[in-house]
């Protein structure tokens, strides 16, 4: 009786998110899938979390069991927004068989869903079918397709991430998503490897300006050092440092639109950090801003004094591609 066996997602948690101007309860689920078809990004820690090669039926079966587990472990009324990650592409039929998508739509009908995918799988028909499946009429846009654009700079995306698609691919995907009645969410990545602190900050400021008119929402991830990744190797060799929280504040303050930003790993050596003394309030402040949109809070934090600010200012100005990272 295989089908009775439980199958848990890789991770799932409840939280709050700012969604279309309101603070809503969110359920985030990371499904274990067939694995990302690209699977090359330098900082991706999910490369090892895939199912081994399974026949498509069995893969579908296992994924559906994960859906069932979510339904059994979280009450419908506890959340309004569902964020789906697969550590790859939700709309890649090889990774997530279409039958699974239909099961997800049926299980979570009525929720506002955000599903992550690479742009090449944003097919208007598939997106429309899924949107119609979940749409109960309660939401203006019940589906947002989320794409890990990371940056609008193709050179950085290729060099620093090895992402394998271009900004033009993203723009085409956005068009397809919009045509299918879905929203478009862009994930940006602050400070992938091989960037100076200044290059990393400027890359985010520019990317946000570029993508703001195209994306319905923007979420900025701060690069962290995850186990068994290329970034971890570089970090161990003193060749990589996650961004300063001061730089993150800089980016968020200068953004013309609200940016979602969950400072995961904030204040730790492997995550975005300052000196250790001033990190706590800034990490909390960024998380609060992400919900409230209160830029004033960020400005106040950026004004606070700490001994490490002078170091950060020096690094911002003095770190160059040929002498980096200057600090740990």
């Amino acid at each position: 009786m295989v089908s009775k066996l439980t199958e848990k997602p890789l991770a799932s948690w409840r939280g709050k998110d700012r969604y279309e101007g309101r603070i809503l309860d969110t359920l985030t689920v990371i499904f274990r899938s067939g694995g990302c078809s690209w699977n090359r990004c330098r900082m991706c820690g999910y490369r090892h979390e895939r199912y081994p090669d399974l026949p498509r039926d069995e893969l579908a079966e296992r994924l559906i069991r994960q859906v069932r587990w979510v339904k059994e472990n979280f009450r419908d009324e506890d959340y309004q927004v569902l964020k789906i990650f697969t550590s790859g592409s939700f709309f890649d039929p090889d990774e997530v068989p279409p039958a699974v998508r239909r099961a997800v739509a049926e299980a979570f009908r009525g929720k506002a869903v955000i599903a992550e995918t690479r742009p090449e799988y944003v097919d208007a028909d598939a997106v429309r079918e899924f949107r119609e499946g979940i749409d109960s009429g309660d939401w203006d846009k019940p589906l947002h397709v989320a794409v890990g654009l990371e940056t609008t700079n193709d050179l950085i995306r290729e060099r620093s991430i090895d992402k394998g698609f271009s900004y033009a691919d993203f723009l085409r995907a956005a068009e397809a998503a919009h045509a299918a009645g879905a929203g478009m969410k862009a994930y940006l990545l602050m400070k992938p490897p091989f960037l100076t602190e200044r290059e990393a900050r400027d890359d985010m400021i520019r990317s946000i300006r570029d993508v703001a008119p195209v994306a319905d929402s923007i979420s900025m991830n701060l690069c962290t050092v995850q186990s068994r990744t290329e970034v971890e190797h570089l970090w161990k060799q003193h060749a990589y440092r996650p961004p300063y929280l001061w730089s993150v504040l800089d980016v968020l303050i200068s953004s013309p639109v609200h940016i979602l930003c969950d400072p995961v790993g904030g204040g730790q050596m492997r995550g975005p950090h300052n000196c250790g003394a001033c990190d706590g309030p800034i990490v909390k402040g960024i998380a609060d801003y992400s919900l409230s949109g209160d830029v004033g809070l960020l400005r106040a934090l950026a004004e606070t004094e700490c001994g490490c600010k002078e170091e950060w200012e020096f690094v911002l100005d003095g770190e160059e591609p040929f002498c980096m990272p200057l600090t740990r």
Binding site: L155, I156, R159, P193, F194, L195, T196, E199, H233, L234, Q237, H238, A239, Y240, G307, C308, E310, E311, E313, F314, V315, G318, E320, P321, F322, C323, M324, P325, L326, T327
Partner: protein, 544 residues
């Protein structure tokens, strides 16, 4: 126009001049490199870490526009005269094994007559290591960062800024309470000191002292020493200054191993089949000491005298004036540690395997005797011990005299021993005489001088007639010109790869031959386009 020329070397370290556009700077030095190279900061998105995979280097590495030329261990290419910038070298120090490996890869691929820039790497605590590693040009990024971090920089390391008030430094910056000024001055001062040690040919000793406060630096020193072939190539064959062997790392100096290897592989001992092993003396050369005068008188030419010593291992009497035998100094406590014993016993073992004797007499006590016993056991020699208490005690000397009773007398052949050690050739010394006293010695045949002896280094300096005795080796081929004064590197077409800085060489060209001394090693002679390669002593035009 970008040019670099080294004027003085000490291993990988150099003192030289770098010229770029209008600027001419003497290196090593810390400079405002953003001003020296106005386009330096226009290298956006060009980071390639040292520890990255070859594919990334191939796809994304760029040397940049103009000067300096960025290099990477996997993509090292530059022209003579360039300033090469080893990007991100400040991160290398964290991994001693990689540091040594990358450095060797870079030095072997790049022309020697290039100035080496290590961006953001120099601190008062790292400058010595960087210069020792062959870097010449530095910036103030590292110390300015330390200032921004409220760190007080000394050669011993980085300390909280509050240390400035404790009076450890009395510089202008400290007097004015200006941390940034102190940190820059501390770096300048350290580089000036390092430079002094390079000038003096004693940087190794400063390096052995400086590395003590940082395990990574000790590690780097050891990893570099392990790459003997790489380090030995750039070391002078001899120096005229003391070698202070005061640390555990001293015995790893390439000069120590080179001396021992030559004693085992090149040296031709005086013809005798009795060896007597003697203890060393603090006074150098040994024969000037009271104890050795007693030994020499007692042995009375009836045995080949071999001095057992740390860290050199074994110094035959013939070589006692040659560097570093006549120059080293060690702390003497009477205790020989196991590492030392094993190292020296190994040298003795190899020596006795290469040069067998009928009798080996050990006129030794303590650690030196232990070492001799270890070696005797390893090569199956019956050691005769003649010490009864202290080696100079009457009883000991009497026993030594008695042991040599009836052995044939013969003259110590210093000429054959030194020439074989220095030129790897065996010469017939019949009719040759060593004349003169310590500071003014020469080898003559009748009235004709064949060699003079450098009182500073103990090396032989052949005249043209002296070179006639040395059939091959230590030759430098030059183009069709008659050397006037010095021979420059670009004039050299070929040379013996065994030539090291300080070696006596015979210059041979279609138009002239000349005697002289190498001021750079063979590797640099062949790969450089600039610099004095040979200081010529005598020139003889051919066909006259």
């Amino acid at each position: 126009m970008s040019r670099y020329e080294a004027q003085k070397r000490d291993g990988l370290a150099r003192i030289g001049t770098y010229e770029y556009e209008e600027a001419s700077v003497s290196l090593p030095a810390a400079l405002d490199t953003d001003a020296l190279f106005p386009t330096l900061r226009e290298r956006a998105l060009s980071n390639v870490p040292l520890a990255i995979d070859p594919a990334f280097v191939q796809n994304y590495f760029s040397p940049g526009e103009g000067q300096p030329v960025a290099v990477h261990p996997l993509a090292a290419s530059a022209e003579s005269g360039d300033c090469v910038m080893v990007a991100n070298w400040h991160t290398a120090e964290k991994n001693p094994r990689n540091y040594a490996g990358w450095l060797a890869a870079l030095k072997e691929k790049l022309p020697p007559d290039t100035a080496w820039y290590a961006p953001a790497a120099a601190l008062p605590s790292t400058a010595c290591l960087l210069v020792y590693s062959g870097f010449d040009l530095f910036d103030y990024r590292g110390v300015d960062l330390a200032s921004a971090q409220k760190k007080f920089c000394l050669s011993e390391g980085e300390f909280p800024a509050s240390m400035m008030e404790t009076g450890v430094c009395g510089c202008e910056g400290c007097r004015e309470g200006d941390l940034a000024r102190h940190n820059r001055l501390a770096l300048d001062r350290e580089i000036a000191l390092v430079r002094h040690y390079v000038e003096a040919g004693r940087l190794r000793e400063l390096m052995e002292a400086r590395c003590r406060t940082d395990a990574a630096q000790v590690g780097i020193l050891r990893f570099l020493d392990r790459n003997y072939a790489f380090m030995e190539r750039s070391l002078p064959v001899a120096r005229a200054v003391p070698m202070r062997a005061n640390t555990a790392e001293s015995q790893n100096r390439a000069e120590v191993r080179r001396f021992a290897d030559r004693v085992i592989e090149r040296f031709v001992p005086t013809r005798t089949d009795v060896a007597v092993l003697l203890p060393c003396s603090a006074r150098k050369p040994y024969s000037l000491s009271r104890s050795h005068r007693l030994f020499v008188n007692t042995v009375n030419r009836r045995a080949h005298e071999l001095i057992v010593t740390s860290p050199l291992g074994l110094v035959p009497r013939e070589l006692e004036r040659v560097y570093p035998a006549g120059h080293y100094d060690v702390p003497v406590t009477g205790y020989w540690d196991r590492e030392e014993c094993a190292f020296i016993a190994d040298i003795l073992t190899r020596y006795f395997a290469a040069h067998p004797y009928r009798r080996v007499i050990a006129h030794l006590e303590g650690g030196a005797l232990t070492v001799a016993e270890m070696a005797a056991e390893a090569c199956g020699i019956d050691l005769e011990v003649t010490c009864k208490g202290h080696p100079t005690a009457p009883g000991s000397l009497h026993a030594l005299d008695a042991a040599l009773e009836g052995e044939r007398r013969m003259q110590t052949d210093t000429i054959r021993g030194t020439v074989s050690w220095q030129f790897a050739t065996d010469i017939n010394t019949k009719g040759l005489q060593l004349r003169g006293r310590s500071m003014q010695m020469a080898v003559l045949r009748g009235k004709q001088q064949l060699f003079s002896i450098d009182a500073g280094t103990g090396l032989f300096r052949p005249t043209f007639e002296g070179w006639d005795l040395i059939p091959e080796g230590y030759r430098v081929r030059i183009d069709s010109f008659v050397p006037q004064g010095d021979v420059l590197a670009p004039g050299i077409t070929a040379c013996d790869p065994r030539i090291r800085e300080g070696d006596e060489v015979l210059v041979e060209g279609p138009l002239a031959i000349a005697t002289g001394r190498a001021t750079m090693g063979a590797d640099e002679m062949l790969r450089s386009k600039r610099g004095v390669a040979i200081r010529v002593r005598k020139v003889k035009k051919l066909g006259e």
